[in-house]
């Protein structure tokens, strides 16, 4: 039996698949990279592409360097004859949110959510500057590492962490990734030089190409497709001010608010998959989500072990769900972020039926 739901319908993640994340995938076009992942996630449920009620994807034209790049992967979902389909120019976690809403409306019982990013064709640090405010920030080209480093310094100044503690977060993540065959960095990795001080290479995400896919299903359909569905008992996402100087960078008000709305604090959590591309951001997220040492944080290795931009947040939801599928977690929190210094945050609570 699913928990008491605050939503019209019980919706669960019933399957998850991801690619092996790599530094580059020159030999593959986007659809060639995505398609095997789509086939694997469908195979896990026995569904055919044409049987999916709604398909939603997340990706970015700026990574691909061309307009409407998502249309190139539509061939991989069998988009002819026409299907019910949508796309977000965001991490796939937000595509999942849209699909969840679609199922809540009753217009679909199942949804395929996928996301991908090839960072290798461009310079992802420069590319990400184009998401900044074009009047005050983007003309200065502050790259994603620089902005995260400002946040890290603010945390160190506030006494919330230090460089040694940050290095330990990266090391723990890559050690956890040793059991994750899809991760890009596994095991000990040198902490390396300063990229933008106080952040060293080991505090920063690897540059990754990769893809991921999830299948959502409602109620009895979910029970028929998965032995132990990962019920989404709460999900919410919030954004805060664009101007970095308006925010307290040592806190994440939006994560805390999303977590409250998603019901994170209404029970104990055993697993947390956090989308923290930088070690310092895990410090902020642990505080906002009130995660104690008893919670298994990023057992997959997290974004410090593999960071396919636009898919890394969806992977957090998928990894949390997969632990519930396997019986390794009963109540997990999954988090995705977008924008500089944790500007936008999505929080989901996933729960498995308990016998």
């Amino acid at each position: 039996m699913a928990r008491t739901s605050r939503h019209a319908r019980d919706v669960a993640v019933v399957a998850f698949a991801q690619s092996d994340h790599r530094r580059d995938t020159d030999e593959l076009s986007e659809v060639e990279m995505v398609m095997p992942v789509l086939h694997r996630v469908l195979a896990r449920t026995g569904l055919k592409a044409g049987e999916i009620g709604f398909t939603c994807s997340g990706s970015s034209d700026y990574l691909a360097g061309r307009a409407f790049s998502f249309t190139m992967t539509l061939d991989g979902v069998g988009a002819w004859p026409p299907i019910s389909e949508s796309h977000v120019e965001m991490d796939g976690a937000w595509a999942l949110y849209e699909a969840w809403v679609k199922i809540q409306t009753g217009e679909a019982d199942t949804a395929l959510v996928y996301a991908y990013g090839k960072s290798s064709p461009g310079s992802v640090r420069d590319v990400m500057t184009r998401q900044l405010d074009p009047y005050y920030l983007a003309p200065l080209w502050p790259d994603s590492v620089a902005l995260a480093a400002l946040q890290a310094r603010a945390l160190i100044d506030a006494g919330e962490t230090d460089e040694r503690a940050l290095a330990a977060i990266g090391a723990r993540s890559r050690t956890s990734a040793e059991t994750n065959p899809h991760a890009q960095l596994r095991g000990p990795v040198p902490q390396g030089e300063y990229q933008v001080a106080p952040l060293r290479t080991g505090d920063c995400p690897p540059v990754s190409d990769g893809a991921a896919a999830v299948i959502l299903a409602a109620g009895d359909v979910a029970r028929g497709l998965c032995e132990r569905p990962a019920w989404i008992t709460g999900i919410d996402h919030r954004i805060e001010a664009h101007g970095l100087g308006l925010r307290d960078l040592t806190d994440s008000v939006s994560t805390r608010l999303a977590a409250e709305q998603a019901g994170v604090f209404e029970g104990t959590v055993d697993t947390a998959e956090l989308h923290a591309p930088f070690s310092s951001q895990e410090v902020v997220l642990r505080k906002a989500l009130r995660l104690g040492d008893e919670v298994d944080v990023n057992p997959s290795g997290g974004a410090l072990a593999a960071h396919p931009v636009m898919a890394a947040g969806l992977i957090r939801i998928g990894e949390a769900a997969a632990r519930i599928h396997r019986g390794e977690s009963d109540r997990a929190v999954a988090h995705a972020t977008s924008g500089p210094c944790l500007q936008q945050n999505l929080v989901a609570v996933l729960e498995g039926d308990r016998t």
Partner: protein
């Protein structure tokens, strides 16, 4: 001819994306950026009395419209910083510098910019800094060249303005800046992937290859590696053409800039023999008003061309409608 797709020799090419977006400024941003041109730093005051620099048009908490401008100092305090030892090409300074958030005197929020400092040891949270103005100012955030430590002597041509408190300002300047051009250039190395690499390589031998879907057996050209109907990888490479059939067409009457083709001309969908998807191509070698559906055509290659320049009639009888109607 059918052959199993072989491992590709990956093609790569530079891809440059440049986009000079022209953006309008509202009253608040116009005043702020025009002010920078005049070496005046403006902020806005929220309903609860906080001064925001750089100014925003709506209160981030209440979403109220805010328009009350105030002038603040060009001197301020670093609230956080990060040492950038390896500046990237388009960043404000070419030598190592600190990224800083600076709360200017009179402001309650911080502005992001670069701090020109010799080394990370000379930078600290709480240090006093001031604006170094750009010599040529146009009404842009880059009119602030960077910040510099406030304990160094000011350049004689740029005396620091002294306004320790935020003071009301009407935001009126002669010749206000009302827009900016947001220039950006991103450099990529484009790789087309396995299927399209094979297509492009074959074109260099003046051959056209598609790929067959193992499920529905349709041949797609150019191949993208997947069958859009079945959602599976297309694996078998198939040579198609060279001749084909015009399935539909249009007459182009507008001359495109930098295009050396006389109008009117015909642009057509051409189903190459053996293909289940029509390609685009220009039709030549026949008066434009004699092109018709069903016309049989063949490619014409020019010296050094990487794809057919155009298609011309083969002289064969027209194809029967039923043969190509599925491909229109």
């Amino acid at each position: 001819m059918t052959a199993a797709a072989s491992p590709p020799e990956v093609l790569r090419a530079p891809l440059v994306v440049e986009f000079p977006f022209t953006r309008s400024l509202g009253p608040v941003q116009s005043a702020f950026l025009t002010g920078l041109r005049e070496r005046v730093v403006l902020g806005v005051t929220t309903s609860d009395g906080r001064v925001m620099v750089p100014p925003v048009e709506y209160d981030p908490v209440t979403a109220d419209e805010i328009r009350d401008l105030v002038e603040v100092s060009a001197t301020g305090t670093v609230t956080t910083w990060a040492w950038n030892g390896d500046p990237r090409p388009q960043q404000p300074l070419a030598t190592p510098f600190a990224w800083v958030l600076v709360r200017l005197d009179g402001a309650d929020t911080a502005i992001l910019h670069a701090l020109d400092a010799p080394d990370p040891e000379s930078v600290s949270t709480g240090m006093r800094v001031r604006i170094r103005w750009a010599a040529d100012r146009v009404g842009a955030i880059t009119d602030i060249a960077c910040f510099e430590p406030a304990d160094t002597p000011a350049a004689p041509q740029a005396p620091p303005r002294v306004s320790p408190q935020a003071v009301p300002h009407d935001g009126v300047f002669a010749d206000a800046v009302t827009g900016i051009v947001a220039e950006a250039r991103l450099d990529y190395t484009y790789s087309p992937g396995r299927a399209q690499t094979a297509y492009i390589n074959a074109l260099s031998e003046r051959r056209t290859v598609g790929e067959r879907c193992p499920s529905c057996h349709k041949v797609y050209v150019p191949p993208r590696g997947a069958c859009p109907t079945c959602g599976v990888a297309t694996t078998d490479r198939v040579e198609v053409g060279p001749a084909g059939t015009v399935t539909t067409y249009c007459i182009v009457n507008i001359k495109a800039r930098n295009l050396d083709i006389e109008v009117p001309y015909v642009y057509a969908h051409i189903a190459l023999d053996g293909a289940d998807l029509a390609l685009h191509g220009r039709i030549g070698g026949i008066p434009y008003d004699q092109v018709r559906m069903g016309l049989r055509v063949e490619p014409v290659w020019t010296e050094g061309g990487r794809h057919p320049d155009h298609y011309r009639p083969t002289g064969e009888p027209d194809a029967d409608y039923d043969v190509y109607k599925e491909l229109i």
